[in-house]
């Protein structure tokens, strides 16, 4: 049996691969760049209400800035496109507008290169707008947008070329400004000044090098501290290093009240070879005191000194991360396939690492789903139990009383239930039994009354039952009718078999004939239906949970669709598919367990 299970699980791998492909295709429907939509291109479906920042964070989270399946950027030469991008980044909208007029003529070699660059951005209606002077204003706006998106999407691949630009054109201030602006779009958080919420030793070099750079520049501004002050600070500082919780650490830091004067002490703590907690607390404190330690961006009209300063910062960043920007040949070859949208998504799904929700709360997706599962699972189980407990006996009664009034009556009712969509039953119940037209017996929304947390478990259970009875019935009804009709016909099949006649002829009591001989065999096909109910319920629960205001999986699905919360949506689709797959496996196994005529070797593909 175990070999069979293992074989089935291995056979699931291609199916899972298919699931990721379908999920990936759905992902491609994600709304496009809000900037693109603003600039007047039908970039994405549906209206997007997100802010640009939220979108960028999500885009980078989901690696949507990478190519779809093959990443050739590692072998592309970015020198010329980055030069053009830097040129446009350093110009204001009016200047770009003038440029467009020049570009339309495309006289010299530089404009031709720029034109080729702009064409490669695939701006919609580019050529027609270029020839039409009335559209030059709109085109300039589009160019700015698309250049920005180009930089963001190029990411680290363009950094070496841009740094070279920064070095080469010592005299041209505009080129430098443009290069810096490109860099600040390409690289997210070039310097890391604090540890993540779970600090690890691996982060130390980056944090230390960032602060070292800052300290090298700013050391002169801070006079050295005298010994008394140093000791006082030491007393204040040491107890903080044992604080593990981040939020309490912040409040305690505020109470401790470090100020900018104390910087030499903190820098010493961080830069000397201290322990991890010491470095962590020092980095957090310094970040609190200095909001923006190193400037990495410049405005278009920046002064040469500021530009030189920022350029210096970028060079330091580049040198300290040169291994990252110049990956080895092997790494590059591997990343052609692994550093793509699809590969990243597969890794995320395969490791069940779904990231964070796209909503402003930025909750981890797995937590949201877990909270919803805890609400939905009991309801699902209850309704499944209800289905099997009611439907099978009903089916048996109908089969045994075939052609009698009881059969007709039950079959008629079942058929009507079968034709009654769950949301209509739900709404009728809500109106008739909850809203007060005519009765007000059950609550309208939710699964618990207010103050349910403080109840004793007995009252809590009663309260829960009172809230959940209608949703459970609605979830169950449709499948209940289907299962009852199915078990009726399955029982009828069995009752017509020869061995039933033999049993009767033997003088076995009718009760035994039905429950021992017939029902056991009649149940076999019913068990397989288990796997087909689950997808129906997962989908159907969207409506029922929406109507009854239950914060379960269904409502979570609905809201993540409505609010375009892609990380959550992806995870839900994926989890649903896996649950269904496992339930199919389970029902196949049950089939073999229940029916001794079927052996594991014979079931093969299932």
């Amino acid at each position: 049996m175990w070999t069979y299970v293992i074989r089935r699980i291995v056979a699931m791998i291609p199916t899972l691969f298919g699931v990721t492909v379908v999920s990936f295709c759905i992902m491609q429907l994600a709304p496009g760049d809000p900037l693109m939509i603003q600039a007047g291109s039908a970039g994405g479906a549906g209206e997007s209400t997100q802010t640009r920042e939220a979108f960028l964070v999500q885009k980078r989270d989901l690696k949507l800035d990478k190519p779809l399946v093959i990443n050739l950027n590692y072998y592309r030469d970015f020198a010329s496109p980055m030069k053009s991008a830097a040129y446009f980044e350093a110009r204001s909208i009016d200047q770009v507008r003038e440029d467009v007029a020049v570009l339309a003529k495309a006289a010299d070699a530089e404009s031709i290169a720029r034109l080729a660059f702009l064409r490669s951005l695939k701006i919609p209606d580019f050529d027609s707008s270029l020839t039409n002077p009335d559209k030059h204003g709109a085109l300039a706006r589009k160019i700015q947008t698309w250049v920005q998106i180009f930089c963001e999407d190029t990411g680290a691949h363009g950094v070496p070329a841009t740094i070279a630009l920064l070095d080469a054109t010592e005299g041209d201030l505009h080129q430098k400004i443009g290069a810096i602006r490109c860099l600040s779009r390409m690289v997210v958080a070039p310097f890391v000044f604090t540890y993540s919420s779970h600090p690890s030793e691996a982060e130390t070099p980056k944090v230390v090098s960032a602060w070292k750079e800052w300290w090298r520049k700013n050391e002169k501004k801070f006079p050295p501290l005298d010994e008394d002050r140093r000791q006082a600070l030491e007393r204040k500082f040491t107890p903080l290093t044992t604080e593990l919780d981040r939020s309490t650490l912040f409040t305690r830091l505020e109470e401790a009240g470090f100020d900018r004067e104390d910087m030499p002490f903190l820098a010493g703590k961080l830069l000397s070879s201290g322990s991890l907690p010491e470095r962590f607390v020092a980095a957090v404190t310094m970040k609190l005191l200095v909001a923006q330690p190193l400037r990495m961006d410049v405005p278009i009209d920046a002064r040469p000194e500021a530009v030189a300063d920022v350029a210096e910062n970028w060079k330091v960043h580049y040198e300290s991360n040169s291994t990252e920007y110049h990956p080895s040949g092997l790494t590059r070859a591997v990343r052609v396939l692994t550093d793509t949208q699809y590969a990243h998504m597969v890794v995320r799904l395969a490791t069940f690492n779904f990231g964070r929700s796209a909503l402003t709360t930025r909750e981890p997706v797995s937590e949201r789903i877990w909270a919803a599962v805890k609400v939905s699972a009991p309801l699902m189980l209850l309704s499944q139990a209800l289905i099997y407990l009611i439907a099978v006996p009903l089916g048996v009664v109908c089969a045994v009383r075939r052609g009698r009034p009881a059969d007709y009556a039950i079959s008629l009712v079942l058929f009507m239930l079968y034709s009654m969509p769950s949301f209509i039953v739900g709404m009728l119940c809500l109106m008739a039994l909850c809203y007060g037209k005519p009765f007000k017996w059950f609550p309208m929304l939710g699964l618990h009354s207010e103050g349910a947390a403080g109840m004793t478990w007995g009252t809590w259970l009663v309260d829960y039952g009172w809230h959940s009875i209608l949703p459970v019935i609605c979830l169950a009804l449709f499948n209940l009718a289907g299962l009852a009709m199915y078990s009726r016909s399955s029982m009828l099949d069995v009752l017509g078999q020869d061995y039933i006649r033999t049993a009767r002829a033997k003088g076995v009591r009718e009760f035994h004939v039905i429950f021992k001989h017939a029902l056991r065999n009649g149940l076999i096909p019913i068990i397989t239906l288990f796997s087909s109910f689950l997808p129906a319920m997962l989908g159907g629960s969207v409506l029922v949970e929406y109507l009854f205001g239950i914060p379960g999986m269904g409502r979570l699905s609905f809201y993540s669709i409505e609010q375009k919360d892609f990380p959550t949506l992806m995870a839900l689709i994926y989890i649903d598919a896996i649950v269904v797959m496992l339930s199919i496996l389970l029902s196949d196994l049950l089939y073999v367990v229940v029916d001794p005529r079927i052996s594991f070797s014979a079931t093969g593909e299932g």
């Binding site: 199916t15 429907l29 709404m427 009728l428 809203y435 037209k437 997808p535 989908g539 269904v580």
Partner: protein
């Protein structure tokens, strides 16, 4: 059984024996009639209206000038009806004399009707041919009537349009009639039989026109997935090998996703509209059909008549589509009525969730959506619910009748 009875004749005979299913086929007629004759029942365009200087026929002109493609299609069916009916009655007699079975006659007559409708649609899509509606946005006001004395618009029984708003009659119950002092328009004196909604639109009219959307969604989406499923399933079953493996895997994968959730996601992301709903239901529904057909084709592939066809040198296309497929269709055809019922429910639930038909357009689901926000107005809930229930029941009855009729085990018992 007669000697030249075909398989379908036998099925029809079996089907007729099932009283419920046979009744359901005839109960389908009023629903289709409701959809086709909707403008004859409900329309805010007067049949005849005299504004003092001239006599106008806005209703007739409005038939040809509908913004919604679905409305246009059904209006063309309405226009074609008077042509089709006498022709079919005459033809029916001839067919009956030739001994054609009732089911076959019904089937051919329906096919002719669809063909006629589509022809008319194509014909009147040429704008020069159709009578222009100059009065589409006109309100036929009482003042005009008053000043002219005797003349007054002649309306169809329910003189309200599906999207016609009236902020004076918001959320009124069934049988509400405006008090005479508030009459402004020519159609104000008529009662709202099933009440009104949040914008004063007549619920009866919206339900009648909603029938059109439901029926179209049901038929078109099932048509789409039946065709895809049949072709894909037949190819997989016939050619076998790697193609079969690939297609079976795809079927398996798509079936893993809970269908309603998948449809909801796709419709919401692509952009809600009735056409998108039809297409999405169509492209998510095919795997189950393909699976059925594949199994059936696998059985038929080794039959003698296939070997005979191959020996005659027929091409694969001919063998698949002319010989094997017609013999393997029955499981897919049984699934079709259930599929239609399912599609109607799906459309209603999508509209209920707000991802369905665009708001002013009438649909059962969008009325239900209003009801889900205002439970105190019971008529918003009860009437569309009855509509959905009735339609779904009919299609389910037809489906189960068809299943029984095609089941050879049940046949031998009779």
């Amino acid at each position: 059984m007669g000697k030249d009875e075909t398989y379908w004749d036998i099925v029809w005979k079996q089907f007729r024996n099932n009283r419920f299913a046979y009744g359901a086929v005839w109960s389908l007629a009023p629903i289709v009639a409701l959809a086709v004759f909707a403008p004859l029942i409900c329309s805010n365009q007067p049949l005849v209206f005299s504004d003092g200087t001239q006599r106008l026929f806005p209703w007739f002109r409005a038939l040809f000038n509908q913004e919604q493609a679905v409305d246009y299609l059904f209006n063309m069916a309405l226009v074609g009806f008077p042509v089709w009916l006498p022709a079919v009655l005459w033809q029916n007699r001839r067919w009956a004399k030739r001994g054609m079975s009732g089911g076959r006659r019904l089937w051919f007559a329906s096919l002719q009707y669809v063909a006629l409708t589509l022809t008319l649609c194509a014909l009147f899509s040429i704008s020069a041919l159709r009578p222009q509606n100059l009065h589409a946005s006109r309100t036929f006001t009482e003042e005009e009537v008053a000043s002219q004395g005797s003349s007054r618009g002649t309306y169809v029984p329910v003189p309200f349009g599906p999207t016609e708003q009236d902020l004076g009659t918001v959320f009124k119950g069934p049988m509400f009639r405006k008090p005479e002092s508030e009459w402004r328009k020519s159609n104000d004196g008529f009662p709202h039989l099933l009440g009104t909604d949040n914008a004063g639109r007549d619920i009866l009219t919206r339900i009648v026109y909603g029938t059109r959307i439901s029926i179209t969604v049901g038929l078109v989406s099932v048509g789409i997935y039946l065709s895809i499923g049949c072709i894909v399933g037949a190819l997989a079953g016939y050619f076998g090998g790697r193609l079969d493996l690939l297609i079976s895997r795809v079927i398996e994968v798509v079936l893993l996703f809970p269908s309603f959730f998948l449809i909801l996601t796709l419709v919401a992301l692509i952009g809600p509209s009735i056409y998108i709903i039809m297409i999405v239901i169509g492209i998510t529904g095919w795997p189950s059909i393909a699976r059925l057909i594949r199994g059936e084709v696998l059985k038929q592939r080794s039959a003698d008549y296939v070997s005979a066809a191959r020996a005659l040198g027929f091409g694969h296309t001919r063998i698949i589509f002319r010989h094997i497929l017609p013999n393997s269709l029955s499981p897919a055809l049984v699934a079709a009525p259930f599929g239609i019922a399912n599609a109607i429910t799906t459309e209603a639930s999508l509209s209920l969730l707000g991802f369905g038909v665009r708001p002013p357009a009438p649909s059962w689901g969008s009325v239900l959506r209003l009801a889900s926000e205002n439970y105190q107005y019971w008529w918003l809930l009860v009437f569309p619910a009855i509509g959905i229930f009735f339609t779904v029941t009919i299609f389910n009855l037809i489906g189960s009748g068809l299943r029984d009729a095609m089941d050879p085990r049940l046949r031998s018992m009779r």
